[in-house]
Amino acid sequence: MAGAALLGRLTPPPALRWQIARVVSVRAETPRAITLALDVPEWPGHRAGQHVDVRLTAEDGYRAQRSYSIASPPLASVLEITVERLEDGEVSPWLAREAEPGDELELRGPIGGYFVWEPARGGPLLLIAGGSGLVPLMGIERLRRAATPELASTLLVSARSPEELIYAEELEGAVVTYTREPPPGWTGYARRVDRAMLAEVAPPPEQRPHCYVCGPTSFVEVVAEALVALGHHRALIKTERFGATGG
């Protein structure tokens, strides 16, 4: 019945409230990015692509809050976020340099229903990441590999240099472009993602790939417009902008 179906979709997601999360482990991904594994006692589970809000409170009551995408796939036993330390960040420097196992922080989530993917949506997938925009896309890709590996996906990642490439060991099969300093002997792409690159890398629009684009605002806008110009339907392009001052 249409009404029941609508009600089902309007059924509130798990109550969104601040919970206390405990840091279980900290793992360096690159010189500036770390992955935190968190124990959240009443974690309701999440969908690939969603994010959490993290809030820190200082002794004088000062609070700072930022959003971080969930890196771990939905059925993993522990919740993981990957945080890139921003030079003038409020929250990311503490997460990247101070956080230790046993530390407590506040967390709210999971958040998001637009920038999500699950196998039932089908594919093929086209995942285009700028810098730390790779985090939610890797959550999606890890889910695909675990649940529906036969479903095709194309992953295009833009990073400044190999040192700044997150999850490098999981990117076999991905197309990487380096925008500042490619490694010696590199024969791959060495420029910002543009329409010509997408024309070569992306599946043709006739295959109707589900496109997910995540990264800094200007990256997302250039890529989304290029995909439309190549003939991909806007309704199949999902975007999430990360702020340069996000963290």
Binding site: A58, D88, D103
Partner: protein
């Protein structure tokens, strides 16, 4: 009651705290806060208007504004989001200069801006040397992200009253809540009385 995060503290430079209003802290840079995209009105289309409770609206082109006597302004600025900067240096035309000779019974003004932002002020808060149309900051033309080509500067009130990309003020009998004042922020905004929100 949020748990204290071990080892977490606000980043801030050390400085003269005694000049800070309650609840404020010093920052090193100049944070950019906006409710919308940065407008880019070409100077040959830019005007500043005073209208409302006035016999004849007044309007200045950019050249005409820049031909008026301008003055340096050195002031502390306080943002309601809790950061403050001391001894900032501006250049602008005093609103007293723009209102010189204007007879009005208005008790309030609404400043209005490119992009649609508005803010309301009692008229005494923008006269007698308390407000400027500022076009210079730190010895250079005011950057677009900070309100250039010109913003209102009313340093004795929280910085949301110093409307970026100002294009005019309307003289009014009533206090019409502006963009943030309509959604929880104080009508006047005196940082020394910590007038941040409705009811403060």
């Amino acid at each position: 009651m949020s748990p204290i995060t071990r080892g977490f503290r606000r980043r801030e430079p050390s400085g003269d705290d005694s000049r800070l209003p309650p609840g404020q802290h010093l920052v090193g840079g100049f944070p950019v806060l906006s409710a919308g995209p940065t407008p880019h009105t070409p100077l040959d289309q830019w005007t500043f208007t005073i209208d409302g409770m006035i016999d004849e609206p007044l309007r200045w082109t950019w050249e005409e504004l820049r031909a008026l006597p301008a003055e340096p302004v050195r002031c502390d600025i306080h943002c309601v989001t809790s950061w403050s900067k001391l001894d900032t240096e501006w250049e602008g035309v005093s609103l007293d200069t723009l209102l010189d000779g204007v007879a009005t019974e208005a008790d309030y003004v609404t400043a209005w801006c490119d992009g649609g932002y508005t803010t309301n002020l009692p008229i005494e808060d923008v006269t007698d040397g308390r407000a400027w149309v500022a076009f210079g900051y730190d010895g250079r033309p005011l950057e677009p992200e900070h309100g250039g080509p010109a913003r209102l500067l009313v340093p004795h009130l929280y910085l949301w009253k110093s409307a970026k990309w100002v294009r005019g003020i309307t003289l009014r009998p009533d206090n019409e809540p502006g963009f943030w004042e309509a959604l929880g922020y104080h009508q006047r905004g005196d940082p020394w009385q910590e007038q941040r929100y409705w009811g403060d």
